[in-house]
Amino acid sequence: MTDEPILELDHARISYFTRAGEVNVIPGLSFALGAGEAMGLVGESGCGKSTVALAIVRYLGRAGRITGGRILFEGRDVAGLSPSELREMRGRRVAMVYQDPMASLNPVMTVGRQLMEVPMLHEGLGERAARARALDMLAEVKLLDGESMLARYPHQLSGGQQQRIVIAMALIAEPALLIMDEPTTGLDVTVEAAVLDLVRELRRRHGTSVLFISHNLGTVVRVCDRIGVMYAGELVEAGSIRQVFANPRHPYTRGLLDCLPTLGRDKRQTPLVPIPGQVASALVRPAGCGFAARCVHVEPGRCTSEAIPALPVTGDPGHAAQCVRAAELPPWERRRAVADAARGRRSGPIVLRVEGLEKLYRPRPGLFRSGRAPVRALNGIDLVVRKGETLAIVGESGCGKSTLAKVLAGLETASAGRVEIGGREVASMRVESRPLELRRTIQMVFQNPDSTLNPSHSAGYAIGRALRRLRRTPKGEAAREASRLLGVVKLPTDLGDRKPDRLSGGQKQRVAIARALAGNPDVIVADEPVSALDVSVQASIINLLNEIQASREATLVFISHDLSVVRYLADHVAVMYLGAVVEVGSVADVFAPPFHPYTEALLSAVPVPDPDAQGIRIILEGPLPSATDMPSGCPFSGRCPRRIGAICDDTPPPTREISSGHRIVCHIPAEELTRLQSAAPSSPSPTR
């Protein structure tokens, strides 16, 4: 690393100008990024992370402006660049990778054209040379079969492949700085792990500086050397990854770490601690520390009277925290689980039983093609859920977990097999034909906070309507009961008048939970209820679900792709792959060897916000096979790192009962799996 930083922010002040006047989102931010260095910026949404990224390339739009300080890129102030200099900088020196790869790719151009365009335009390379460069770059981002890849259009690629192409496009001009804004947020864990590895490797090889923006502390640990924690537009703590994670000095950093479910955490031992309140609006900036209103260590007067400077942490060069109490805070201790978690109870009566459940989607035969192969979304699912327990269903996107939820809820019907809810057969009963009592029994919480509530209806109406339909509550009483339910989900009752556009994401999800509770259901199916929320909000929603479930003895079917959340919340876990359950058991059993090879790969891919817990990882190669031509043997055989031979491809694997209730569907015997997996500790085991 040279002395001259690639990027330096010197009291940069950024504002948006709105109808209401100037909104100062970044009051004065300073940091430097050296050549070849990777720095992560983390914080909840609304903290100004993306604004910083956009300001560096002066991409703030008409409303945004740099109103003070300097942003120096390679020693030049970006505010003073002429349009042509700016173009040169954006084209050759800085590259950006955003969350949604489809938004960065042109859908009507082949991948090859888009890749070749960069060197042809900016370096005047000929078509031939540009093509060679593009092929080299594809090899670097580990896309096999580059020739055929060049001829494809973006929609013919998977999400992971698309993001690799975007990274290839970003790096093909050999930029000095790569800005990545939540580059893996939309990807599956196994794909995310592969992309993060790739970024780390490429940055080492090309010496590119990286500014990596993420809400996920775990991903930052995997890629970056340094980390900056942002809150309300200010850098509240900065230092090397090791410094900040071993000894976080700012209460906000501690809050972020404490509210994060990690693989070693469990609802029985180390409850999540959400950060109280929400990110303050940039419209009203308090006099003292911006975080004071949410801080548990706040000292009125000292913290709230004047602006807090960033103070170096004594005895820890390069580590700074913007907190007057930084030095006095007690030493921080990472919450690690102690030994083995308690086994899930298996006592209550069975409320939900699924046997041999199958769901086929038949594509409608078109005029010129008939009888395309049906899509097997669910392929023989067997599950049993008992009263009062939480069953988590995990798997990557496309594994059929949401289809399973829809069949349970009656939004889809099964093609074959049985689904029993409270002793009633409902597999082929759509929700419209289910009797009231059955509809009341099972309710659902959906994934997307922006579409779960009708934007035209107030929160109170949404809950009241559910009460009237499911419990036949008279109108006046329904309003009262709705306020009570708002209290149950810990929302102020006057929120009932508000429509969704005036609720935050977490509040919307709470209203949706209250709506699901209106019928006093026995089974709540929650389909990724926290995946669209910020970590601190996520923690409070998880706690709420946990509390409601415990106090009502309700059964929770929790669908998630996030193994950390599942580890924390579930009693039992079912791991799904391509429409089939490959492993099921109590949470303690599933998260400890022997694992199914797929579970093992999933676990090793989970980004862990702990620099010391980097185990050997398994990167799954190859794409997810299509659900139309299912392999005749094990569905996972094509990607399985522990494949033992032709038997995996040809013969359906047996279900092995490892211990009571713990089943693995694999050709490899349990003892052998245990031996293999403890020999190479491939995952941050919860018991270490």
Partner: protein, 298 residues
């Protein structure tokens, strides 16, 4: 995390007093005032509405009163600001009175089309399958006719009256609205709140009217504004073809028809009614453009 590329996506102030009904409307009107096209369009339309409502009070002459003195000199004068037509009828008064018919017939026809079209579009988009097929094909058939010919046939058959014009405009415009609503419905029916409504056992009618339609209203209102403007044009054209409202009541299109033969001598007789039609159409178009702008911003 989304990129706050515009100021509107900044976090709103969380602690706002809940808006009352009246204040919510005041806020909406405030939004209209912020879009220049919407403001100008609303101004023009409102001026015409006022003119129509107040025509009996502000029109200087009865609409069908003739003035022998003016026949000889029909050009604009102090007595007749916009002049008179070939029969000596005051143009300003006739245009003001004419606004009454246009501003009754055009919006009523649009309301009718919106009502019918919304029901058809909701049913087609919500149920899909054969219902969708039947409705979509029926709409295609209606839309495939040359519209003016269709009006001429129908109006020639049933006679021209304000009611018949409204009925015909309703029938011919409903398919267009049905298509728009169908498209929106297909998208909105996949929303999670619709699934939630199904899970509490709501009827399809409730889901269509209470869950889907209110969220389709933005594009629908914009389209209704545009469609009202088009209706003004069609009513003018029908009047010009002589199958508009029966004479002698003033009708802008009919006024042009009666006088365009004298265009080379007294162009004002045709030009002023034409200007009236144009300004009203432009007003509705600007309002539609502005409302769309506001809708996009929200």
């Amino acid at each position: 995390m989304t990129i706050p590329a515009t100021a509107e996506s900044l976090p709103a102030v969380p602690e706002r007093v809940p808006l009352g009904f009246a204040r919510a409307w005041a806020r909406r009107l405030g939004l209209v005032a912020e879009s220049k096209p919407a403001l100008i369009g609303a101004g023009i339309v409102l001026a015409w509405v006022l003119a129509a409502v107040l025509a009996p009070l502000i029109a200087p002459y009865p609409p069908n009163a003739t003035s022998m003195a003016a026949v000889a000199h029909p050009t604009p004068s102090a007595a007749h600001w916009l002049g008179t037509d070939h029969l000596g009828r005051d143009l300003l008064s006739r245009i003001l009175w004419g606004a009454r018919t246009v501003l009754t017939v055009a919006p009523l026809a649009v309301l009718g089309a919106a009502f019918l079209g919304s029901l058809l579009g909701l049913a087609a988009g919500y149920y899909r399958g054969w219902i969708d097929l039947v409705i979509a094909r029926a709409c295609d058939i209606v839309l495939s006719f040359p519209v003016i010919i269709l009006y001429m046939i129908i109006l020639a058959h049933f006679g021209s009256s304000a009611f018949n014009i409204i009925a015909v405009l309703t029938l011919t415009k409903a398919p267009i609205i049905a298509r728009i609503v169908r498209g929106l419905t297909i998208e909105l029916r996949e929303r999670e709140y619709v699934a939630a409504a199904k899970m509490r056992g709501e009827s399809p009618l409730y889901i269509m009217l209470a869950e889907i339609l209110p969220n389709a209203r933005g594009p629908l209102i914009v389209d209704m504004c545009l469609r009202t403007g088009y209706n003004v044009v069609i009513i003018g054209a029908l009047g010009f073809l002589g199958i508009g409202l029966p004479p002698p009541d003033p009708d802008w299109g009919g006024m042009v028809k009666d006088t365009y033969g004298m265009m080379s001598v007294w162009p004002h007789m045709a030009l002023f009614p034409c200007a009236a039609i144009s300004s009203l159409v432009i007003g509705f178009n600007l309002l539609a453009v502005g409302l769309r702008e506001i809708g996009l911003r929200d």
